[in-house]
């Protein structure tokens, strides 16, 4: 019987140089695995692989040297530990994320919850080519959001609240954009310089800022054979509902317009940036 490599690849089985050996990619969301999952992965790699795993560049785990004949057994064993095969090929790939607000003091958004939500919504969705989501919690950009076809970066929109301000001046220095000035006890924020990093709010001793936690979304990032930094269309997206509409619109644009094996950036370029922006603004405005 001929081996259906396309189906295997869809199920996360990457063909190795070594005949009849596969590196099995696992479904990991937002870079987190439970102890139970890890124990099962260790067991499978020992029993069916070569006793080790590979950590991929996009937060997945692969178990190399899985034998073709063991595939069903391996899948069943992994399922006992809540582990599933991941995906490769022309579809929505692993949703990557930093630890975000739940754990990291710098985080502006709950990256893991968002990764789960996007994974539930789009996992393995068939598309003309690969499509990568990456979520980073803040401007430190540990997760390199602009490398992704669709990158999401957490941000905080601030408005000074005079009633709670003690005029200490900490925010003026915490701001790396030099957007804040303090004069006669009054704070002024140059909104054209603000990059929504939220450092003023996080450093403020009295939390004298009204804040909106939101998203900075970039489109068309690439970091493989071609390199391109994803570009932002809307400076700041205030709520998740809008964010989801925008993600839907971006994926739909890709599904409707891309040629097979064409990455998102090249579809946007070929069809026209203006046309794409129109779709995104439509989704934003609802």
């Amino acid at each position: 019987m001929a081996v259906d490599y396309a189906t295997l690849k869809k199920g996360g089985f990457m063909r190795q140089k070594q005949k009849n050996n596969f590196s099995l990619r696992l479904r990991v969301v937002g870079g987190n695995l439970t102890a139970k999952q890890l124990a099962k992965i260790a067991e499978v790699s020992d029993k069916y692989g070569d006793g080790y795993v590979h950590l991929t560049s996009r937060q997945s785990v692969e178990i190399p040297f899985i034998k073709l004949d063991d595939i069903e057994e391996v899948k069943n064993t992994l399922a006992e530990g809540d582990v599933e095969p991941g995906v490769c090929g022309p579809r929505v790939r692993t949703i990557t994320a930093c630890q975000g607000q739940a754990v990291c003091p710098s985080g502006c958004i709950d990256t893991y919850a968002l990764a789960k939500e996007l994974d539930d919504r789009y996992f393995a969705m068939e598309l003309p080519h690969k499509f990568k989501f990456g979520i980073t919690g803040c401007q430190n950009n540990c997760l390199k959001s602009e490398e992704n076809d669709l990158g999401i970066k957490g941000g905080i929109k601030v408005d000074w609240r005079e009633s709670d301000c003690i005029g200490c001046g900490v925010c003026v220095k915490a701001c790396r954009q030099n957007a804040i000035t303090l004069k006669d006890g009054k704070i002024t924020v140059d909104k054209s310089k603000c990059n929504f990093c939220g450092r003023c709010f996080k450093a403020c001793p009295t939390d004298a800022w009204d804040t909106v936690h939101g998203y900075i979304v970039s489109f068309g990032g690439l970091f493989g054979n071609s390199i391109n930094k994803g570009e932002t269309i809307i400076p700041f997206i205030e709520d998740k509902e809008k964010l989801m509409r925008i993600c839907d619109a971006a994926i739909k644009f890709f599904a409707d317009n891309a040629k097979p094996s064409e990455r998102f950036k090249f579809t946007i370029d070929r069809v026209g940036k203006e046309k794409f922006e129109e779709k995104i603004l439509e989704a934003y405005n609802g």
Binding site: P105, I166, C168, G169, K173, A174, K202, A203
Partner: protein, 81 residues
Amino acid sequence: MADFIIDDIVDITDVVCPTTFVKAKVALEELDDGQILSVKMNDGEPVQNVPRSIKEEGHQILKLIDNEDGTYNLIVKKVGD
């Protein structure tokens, strides 16, 4: 300006991150609840980050004074033990 009485002073201009914060933290640990520490720090990375770290430790920041010589004094009131 002097609406607070400084109980102790620590100079962290001679160390770099992450020792800047550690040195300030140790100085705070030696104070009693409610006492006030003045932390002298350099412009740039220390003044961007140390105030926030001290806030996250639960202490109360009262003022940041620009010494106009490339250093700042952060006035902190110790909260808790």
